[in-house]
């Protein structure tokens, strides 16, 4: 406990420096702004703004605080387009549209927006407290992880990804494999051998992480917007003067608390982020509500509060494995992890000891950001909602301009601009074919770590593969991996059997 308190104290000392405090607020504001734009979810927002934040030349803790602020802000802002436009910014916001949009249609947009703001705040706060309590303990435990344990952890991360994310597990696995293959391009650090560079000097250092992120997310998003424009324009519902009442908040207090805890746990699981968290909590609440749960989907405040609490809680939960193990809990935290690597900071169990300023500064900034978001969001929601009326024809080209500025100012090579456009087309095709993109970016980020640990483990054992199954840590992780694959199958069978009986 002492460690946590002194850590937090140190963190607040970093986060409350005027410049960092300004960055938290700026990040939250711009994050909400970009999250509120129709169709642009947190992952795209962070992807588009990351290179710019990087090239501003801030110290690492400041840049990270800014990015984290953008991340939370975008999670908050995403609900605005879900509720008013019925267009979810990303997969995590789909559940919010189910009850949020009907409420707006019946003239309660203000109530829906302010209630979801409060729910987001509760979710975020519960998760940050849990993060503060558990992260240092997990880090202390993970310090003892051997390379073989890390291999097991990666296997667990990718199996839970394949089992829980997307409709088709094999497609998710292939997406992750594509990411891992992209990561293997370039010079092999151990031996200096060229791999898959096709003789091109541009590929020797591998494909820059920023280019991949901008291409797969920013550019693909742009093509997606062009497509949705060509299919017909989006219609915005106006914000009215209705507001959330204390009675509403009291009515959903347990819903918010339960959903926050579910969201946090799902967020901590490697690879699964807001989309799984909001779906699980929505389903749970609907089942718990029993007979009265029939109104879910028609504008029930419980159905709005549950996914909003859960997806903000999972946003903080996803930070736990990223900070303590160096394994991101979601697509967006994978991008944040990439940002840390750009600053030559390797997240992992040692982060809390070696760079306490960064680890604790980030955590403290999350506390501040969460409060700031509530304060920004409740009164200013009308302003953000007006953003939705920015015509697509100006918004869409701006994304490309921001993306190009980002790529060029960091990498400074026109070759990477072409590469980003090409990856954008690939990302668009993958999305059309119902692949999820988060596993690709997770593969890219974790590729080298996975390979290095496998090679290190086998070097220790002198080439004996059985080292992978020797420690109890790795056996437990493999067991969890099997469980993650088996449980959803068993549960869906059981539900089916019960339904058959009922009929």
């Amino acid at each position: 406990m002492d460690v946590i308190l002194s850590g937090l104290g140190q963190g607040f000392a970093v986060a409350l420096q005027p410049f960092n405090l300004f960055l938290v607020l700026a990040g939250c504001f711009f994050g909400t702004l970009i999250g509120a734009l129709p169709g642009i979810g947190p992952i795209n927002g962070v992807a588009i703004l990351l290179p710019i934040a990087y090239s501003l030349g801030f110290p690492p803790e400041s840049a990270l605080i800014l990015l984290a602020g953008i991340y939370y802000g975008a999670e908050y802002g995403g609900r605005i387009s879900s509720i008013l436009l019925n267009v979810p910014g990303d997969a995590g916001a789909v559940m919010t549209t189910l009850d949020g949009s009907p409420m707006a249609k019946r003239g309660e947009a203000g109530r829906a927006l302010s209630l979801s703001g409060v729910a987001s705040f509760v979710g975020g706060s519960v998760a940050i407290v849990l993060l503060t309590l558990f992260a240092p303990a997990l880090a202390a435990f993970a310090v003892k992880f051997s390379p073989a344990d890390y291999v097991a952890l990666m296997v667990f991360a990718f199996t839970s990804l394949a089992s829980l994310v997307g409709k088709n597990g094999i497609k998710t696995l292939l997406a992750a494999a594509i990411g891992l293959m992209i990561a293997s391009i370039g010079v092999d650090a151990n031996t200096g051998v060229m791999r898959f560079t096709l003789g091109s000097p541009e590929l020797m250092a591998g494909i820059d992480f920023l280019v991949i992120v901008i291409g797969l997310f920013g550019m693909a998003e742009l093509l997606h917007l062009v497509e949705s424009y060509a299919r017909g324009t989006l219609k915005t519902l106006p914000v009215d003067s209705t507001f959330v009442s204390w009675a509403d908040i009291f009515a959903v207090k347990w819903v918010m608390l339960r959903s926050s805890i579910i969201g946090f746990i799902v967020g901590v699981l490697p690879g699964t982020g807001a989309s799984v968290a909001s779906a699980v909590s929505y389903g749970t609440e609907k089942r718990l509500a029993g007979e009265s749960g029939k109104s879910f989907g028609t504008g029930d405040i419980r159905g709005l509060a549950a996914p909003e609490s859960a997806n903000n809680a999972s946003a903080s939960g996803a930070m736990v494995p990223m900070l303590t193990l160096g394994i991101p809990g979601s697509g967006t935290t994978a991008i944040l992890l990439g940002a840390l690597l750009l600053f030559n900071i390797t997240p992992g169990p040692m982060l809390f000891q070696q760079k306490p300023d960064i680890a604790w500064g980030l955590i403290a900034s999350m506390y501040i950001g969460n409060v700031a978001l509530l304060v920004i969001n409740l009164p200013l929601v009308g302003l953000f909602a007006r953003l939705l009326t920015i015509p697509q024809q100006y918004l869409t080209p701006m994304i490309a301009v921001l993306a190009f500025i980002g790529v060029y100012s960091v990498v400074g090579d026109p070759f990477d601009l072409y590469l980003a456009v090409g990856l954008g087309v690939l990302g668009w095709v993958l999305r059309k074919l119902e692949f999820s993109l988060a596993p690709v970016i997770l593969g890219v980020v974790l590729g080298n770590l996975f390979e290095d640990n496998l090679r290190r483990a086998l070097s220790i054992s002198g080439g004996d593969w059985s080292i992978l199954l020797q420690s109890s840590n790795s056996l437990i992780l493999y067991g969890l991996a099997i469980l993650v694959v088996a449980l959803p199958i068993v549960i869906s069978r059981m539900l089916k059997a019960r339904q058959n009986k009922a009929v």
Binding site: I170, Y229, Q393, Y394, Y408, L417, K432, L454, G463
Partner: protein
């Protein structure tokens, strides 16, 4: 079908990747049991199996896209490639102005509005990006002016 085509193309790439991993990549000398080729070999087998599975059990039948949408997407990609080409050659201001005019017009803005929007984005973007935030942006033809 769309799934199958994508999986087949990916399989071809994976086979090429695997061929390189199994046949070409080799360290001249190494001390570790796993060389630079082992990891790509594992990946190529895994990705290949996934592709085969999708070819046998596809789930997206057809990409739902009309001719009209596709044409606009292709024009957008061409505009982006042109933007990428001109970015360094003509500099940020000119390339951005040109791209924004084209893209806004493509998405249904009135020509005059597109023109104003393009010029404003190019100039304001450069002043904000290169001057205020000190980002590395190509000045191009306007080098002498700034």
């Amino acid at each position: 079908m769309a799934d199958r085509i994508f999986a087949a193309i990916t399989l071809l790439i994976v086979v090429a990747y695997g061929w390189a991993a199994f046949m070409i990549i080799k360290a001249p000398f190494q001390y570790d049991p796993l060389g630079p080729e082992s990891w790509p070999r594992i990946l190529s087998v895994l990705a290949g199996l996934c592709c085969l599975w999708i070819i046998f059990k596809p789930d997206v039948d057809k990409i739902d896209i009309t001719h009209n949408v596709l044409v606009r997407l292709v024009i957008m990609v061409v505009l982006l490639l042109g933007y990428a080409y001109l970015f360094e050659h003509a500099g940020f201001i000119l390339s951005t102005t040109g791209f924004c005019i084209g893209a806004a017009y493509l998405l249904g803005a009135k020509p005059v509005h597109a023109l104003i929007f393009g010029a404003a984005t190019g100039i304001i973007g450069y002043v904000l990006g290169a001057k205020l935030l000190a980002l590395n942006l190509p000045a191009g033809l306007f080098k002498s002016l700034f």
